[in-house]
């Protein structure tokens, strides 16, 4: 009861995390992804691009590109607009504009596995087979499965002017080009110098150094194991060293049709497992 009252008081003063009750403005832009798909790196990139005088780090990122699950309502209300907001939600019709980052699910599951070790949710040596099974069932995080997250966004907003699809792999291969696409989407000047500066300030090495100094200042890394780093490989295709053929095959059997659409070559089968009589489920003409 006392705990309830304290929670009530906190709420009254806006000191709670708004989560899905976040009040949304028509000029908000959301940076959405399934967890472990490069969202934090992209926040650094965009934060450094939009706020060139601020030098983004793990301490100020929650103010610059806040997370409704990590930042208080009061801080949200005090932000200057237009806001850019981080999100891991499945399709949310209230988001006026969204950038969605996809990443190869075979790499996502490996990244999530190590993040769960870091957060002490699983022990070292936890069987990867078990983790992949839970990942496929959408049980490794509260935001649905990888397939659900991607499918809900693509079927509702793909090819829509309110939507920008980013591939993590493209960002790794050519961050300047991809950040320029983001800048265009955000109506920010795309001058080469400013983009290069943002990319350099968000480099994996720099983020690793910052993480060492600031891991207690960010809810993503606070209270987690310090012997494992949050900024890990920052590469694509690492799954080949960590997933057995069988496990990769399980992921491809379930989501091969989505992976094929996203141009992730399948390693264990020909193409996606879509039955020919099934209709496409992507948005069409009039919104284009």
């Amino acid at each position: 009861m006392i705990a309830h009252l304290i929670a009530g008081l906190k709420r009254a003063f806006g000191m709670y995390r708004p989560r899905r009750d976040l009040r949304i403005w028509p000029d908000d832009v959301f940076l959405v992804s399934f967890p472990k798909s490069g969202n934090t790196w992209t926040r650094f990139l965009i934060g450094n691009l939009v706020y060139p005088n601020e030098r983004v780090d793990f301490a100020n990122i929650h103010h610059l590109i806040p997370d409704p699950y990590g930042t208080s309502k009061r801080d949200f209300d005090r932000m200057s607009r237009p806001r850019i907001i981080k999100s891991h939600e499945c399709f949310e019709p209230r988001y006026p504009r969204a950038m969605y980052i996809v990443r190869d699910p075979r790499d996502v599951v490996v990244s999530q596995y190590h993040y769960h070790r870091k957060c002490k949710k699983i022990e070292d040596g936890y069987p990867m087979e078990k983790f992949v099974a839970r990942f496929l069932a959408g049980e490794t995080c509260p935001h649905g499965s990888w397939g659900e997250s991607v499918t809900t966004w693509l079927t509702s907003r793909y090819n829509d002017p309110r939507f920008l699809l980013l591939r993590y792999e493209d960002m790794v291969a050519d961050p300047r080009r991809e950040l320029a696409r983001v800048a265009t989407f955000l109506n920010i000047p795309t001058d080469v110098e400013r983009i290069s500066q943002a990319v350099d300030r968000s480099a994996a090495d720099r983020m690793r150094k910052l993480e060492k100094l600031q891991s207690d200042k960010n809810s993503l890394t606070k209270d987690s194991r310090k012997d494992l780093s949050f900024v890990r490989a920052a590469k694509s295709g690492g799954w080949r060293d960590e997933l057995s053929n069988d496990l990769a095959g399980q992921i491809e059997a379930k989501w091969g049709h989505i992976m094929t659409f996203l141009n992730y070559p399948l390693a264990t089968r020909e193409t996606g497992s879509v039955e020919p009589e099934l209709a496409g489920f992507m948005p069409t003409g009039s919104k284009r």
Binding site: T260, F261, G272
Partner: protein, 287 residues
């Protein structure tokens, strides 16, 4: 500030409606649809089936099959489990089991237009064609557009265990048959007699009679125009006589692929076929 304090005090005692912060239990079943797709009728049918000793009406249906947008948190936590809960939300990964009602969007828009007249959200002379444009843009309610709603559920859950897709048109065509599918899905051992009784108790005539005496007892009809009924035509295909042709074409252009996937006829055969070059993102067989 005082208003805020009252809101927060209510929350402390669980008197608020939880909305999307509803605590979901693993044995919950959600009855999901885009608005104006027969959800209230389906609630009557299912509630009459699971509570045969308690004739369902507009005053008690919210108690038997509550909606997290209108029912108080305290009451939601007190209903006996397993719960059946109404929802108009787009895909929510937390819902463990889902009955999804789909309805032809050309009928949905007409129904929504009249419902919003009833609720004084649009004036009588507001052009239906303009309403259709807002409908296509997902601006006539808080739950996204019809296409976003349907695709978000069907492309993620159709063909998976724990998902039952119903079509409003089939429910109108053979109510007994569709309700027995629901009974099986819910694991109810319902006899043909019990199903027939639930169908009878949820008939359009019964619901119209109840609406006349209970309009002020039901959230969707309270404080609305009483000259327009909530239980309206209760038919399928009414759009053919009431929807302007160019509006029907627009809907088919936007969602032809979904309309055809559901098995509804399009009047323009190539409507919405621009999608065919897209990847198939749908899992499972056609309904």
């Amino acid at each position: 500030m005082l208003r805020r304090a009252i809101v927060e005090a209510k929350r402390v005692f669980g008197l608020h409606s939880p909305g999307r912060h509803l605590a979901v239990f693993p044995d919950d079943t959600f009855l999901v649809s885009f608005p104006k797709s027969g959800n209230t009728w389906a609630r009557f049918l299912i509630a009459n089936l699971v509570r045969p000793n308690e004739k369902i009406d507009f005053s008690n249906v919210n108690r038997v099959i509550p909606g997290p947008e209108v029912t108080r948190n305290r009451d939601l936590l007190r209903i006996p489990r397993p719960r059946i809960i109404k929802s108009h939300q787009c895909f929510d990964p937390r819902y463990p089991r889902v009955i999804y009602i789909a309805r032809d969007p050309r009928d949905v828009v007409v129904s929504q237009y009249h419902f919003q007249r009833k609720r004084k959200l649009v004036a009588d002379q507001f052009p239906l064609s303009e309403f259709v444009d807002r409908f296509l843009a997902g601006q006539t309610c808080f739950y996204g557009s019809w296409g976003e709603h349907l695709a978000s559920w069907v492309a993620t859950r159709h063909g998976q265990p724990g998902f039952l897709l119903l079509k409003y048109e089939n429910m109108v065509g053979d109510t007994m048959h569709e309700l027995s599918k629901v009974a099986t899905f819910l694991g109810l051992a319902a006899s043909a007699h019990q199903i027939a009784q639930a169908v009878e108790r949820s008939s359009v005539d019964t619901m119209r009679q109840l609406e006349k005496s209970q309009a002020q007892l039901f959230t969707s009809t309270k404080n609305t125009r009483q000259d327009i009924p909530f239980v309206r035509a209760a038919k399928a295909g009414g759009w053919r006589s009431s929807l302007p042709e160019e509006s029907a074409v627009k809907i088919e252009e936007a969602w032809g692929h979904l309309i055809r996937w559901l098995g509804y006829e399009t009047t323009h055969s190539d409507a919405g076929s621009t999608v065919s070059q897209q990847a198939d993102l749908l899992v499972g067989p056609r309904p």
